[in-house]
């Protein structure tokens, strides 16, 4: 035990490890903040499609050897989010199929671009990183770190400013619109926020695992709590704890960061389901 603590203390003496924890926990916080809304409005589905689009954007950035992929990923994801929102609103089979088409196209074309244009010697490694996150979050550049911090603060600010309106629009669009809270405007804001979160989270967990960061905290909290406020607070804490645990475990065990965090999320979900079951019974 002291051995593990010694090793952790050693790792934590490095600033890049501290940065990794800070960024990881911030990203976890942001992605869980809107979890309830995104899950209940079926935006989580759109988020999944979007993350594939983000993968395509990463492929393009890699093909042009851009060191900062963010410059490509963020705007592409935001624009796609706004476009997807239009089709995704009417939740019918056609809309779902269109979304699935866009997301598999982005995956396919992205891989093709990487194959044809990439100058990298380690193609399989690049693809794996984009899909499942960096093997180690420790490769974050200082620009990445600052960008993550600034964008996280923005996401949190938007959420706090519009908290009550987001609640109302998610609960009852017709009533909100009739009484002057324009649902369309807030759906638009939500779309942009998801795009920002995805662009951020792709660094941490990769394109395929982003949905886990959004879905697990919200669903876990909803097993136990019954009001919007308590569910929101609980998912945020859940998500931050899981991310911190996941990062620490991955450092100690040498496992990939993204999948370790997701594994911790799954365990957390199981625990919360059990608690929810017991509370209901008792």
């Amino acid at each position: 035990m002291t051995d593990i603590i010694d090793r952790l203390a050693f790792y934590f003496s490095f600033t890049f490890v501290q940065y990794a924890i800070i960024v990881g926990v911030l990203i976890a916080l942001c992605s869980s903040l809107l979890g309830v809304t995104l899950v209940l409005k079926r935006f989580s589905f759109i988020g999944d499609g979007l993350s594939h689009v983000a993968f395509g954007a990463i492929a393009i950035a890699a093909a042009f050897s851009l060191t900062n992929q963010f410059i490509v990923v963020l705007p592409v994801t935001i624009i796609s989010a706004i476009l997807l929102l239009r089709t995704g609103q009417n939740t019918n089979i056609k809309g779902d199929a269109a979304l699935a088409m866009i997301s598999v196209s982005a995956l396919g074309i992205g891989y093709l671009i990487l194959n044809v244009f990439s100058a990298s010697a380690n193609l399989a490694g690049d693809v794996c990183t984009a899909l499942f996150g960096s093997i180690s979050i420790l490769t974050l550049s200082t620009t990445d770190v600052w960008l993550s911090i600034v964008l996280s603060v923005l996401v949190i600010a938007v959420f706090l400013l519009f908290y009550h309106k987001i609640f109302s629009v998610t609960f009852d669009e017709d009533f909100s619109t009739a009484t002057g809270t324009r649902a369309k405007t807030y759906n638009f804001i939500l779309a942009i926020v998801i795009a920002v979160i995805i662009s951020l989270a792709i660094n941490l967990v990769g394109a395929l695992l982003i949905s886990a960061l959004v879905i697990f905290p919200a669903l876990s909290a909803m097993r136990v709590f019954r009001s919007f406020k308590s569910v929101t607070i609980c998912s945020v804490i859940f998500s931050m704890v899981c991310a911190a645990l996941g990062i620490v475990i991955s450092i100690l065990a040498g496992t990939p960061v993204g999948s370790t965090i997701v594994a911790v999320d799954i365990v957390g979900f199981a625990i919360f389901s059990l608690i929810g079951f017991i509370v209901k019974r008792g």
Binding site: V36, L40, L160, L161, F162, Y163, H164, K165, F167, S168, T170, F171, D172, D174, F175, S176, T177, A178, T179, G180, T181, A221, M222, F225, R226, S227, F228, K229, S230, V231
Partner: protein, 228 residues
């Protein structure tokens, strides 16, 4: 000028007409009951008045009293988000949102308004309960309390009595009638013709085959109700 004037409205979905040639007007302080069979287009009409839907043809003219900041709306029991975690207090308070503008929080007065309206409708003891775990009648009262928080000049209600027991129904009609005495315009969809005739000042009857009656309650009674 009336608060609301509808001229030759035709309503429907995707080009399929539900009601045609509706004309009526509502003045400040009046109490309009909209009656008619299931599926005759009453809810559709209310959504159109609220600008949630565009009419196929016709014109809706409103005055400043019809601003979104003055309106309370109680939808027909919506399929309100099945798994949505929301406490009764949170739902009722969201009715105050048309007063807050861009302010990110509720003032003490707004919170008090929510508490008062919960008390008025006898749901204050449910404040911490989860909305989706309430009975249908309790949910109706929560939605009405939310509408009351939003109302300043006009209250629109879509079958507010659905699912309420007789006592709760009578109480609710009294709450609405006292608001109306205080000057609030009421537009209410109802199945209960007897109560409509008792409380309303005007009746809009949308019948089968586009037969429409609009007039004062007295005229409606003289015609024997359905004859229009």
């Amino acid at each position: 000028m009336p608060q609301l004037t509808c001229e030759k409205l035709t309503l429907g979905y995707e080009g399929k007409t539900v009601v045609s040639d509706l004309s009526f007007a509502v003045n400040a302080g009046e109490y309009l009951c909209i009656v008619g069979e299931n599926g005759s287009g009453k809810s559709t009409l209310m959504k159109t008045i609220l600008n949630l839907k565009t009419p196929i043809s016709g014109k809706i003219v409103t005055d400043s009293g019809f601003a979104t900041t003055e309106i309370g709306y109680m939808p027909q029991q919506t399929a309100a988000q099945k798994d949505f975690p929301a406490s009764v207090r949170e739902v009722v308070r969201s009715g105050c949102l048309n007063r807050v503008g861009l302010r990110p929080f509720f003032t003490r007065a707004e919170k008090q308004l929510a508490e008062d309206n919960m008390q008025k409708l006898g749901i204050d003891h449910l404040a911490k309960r989860c909305y989706r775990e309430l009975s249908g009648g309790q949910q109706q009262r929560v939605l009405l309390a939310r509408a009351l928080c939003a109302t300043r000049k006009i209250l629109l209600l879509d079958e507010p009595a659905a699912g309420l027991d007789p006592n709760a129904t009578a109480e609710m009609y009294e709450v609405i009638a006292s608001l109306n005495k205080g000057g609030t315009t009421i537009i209410m969809i109802s199945h209960d013709i007897e109560a409509s005739v008792r409380y309303a000042s005007h009746i809009l009857h949308i019948g089968k085959g586009s037969s429409v009656f609009f007039g004062t309650k007295e005229d409606y009674v003289d015609r024997g109700g359905y004859g229009a």
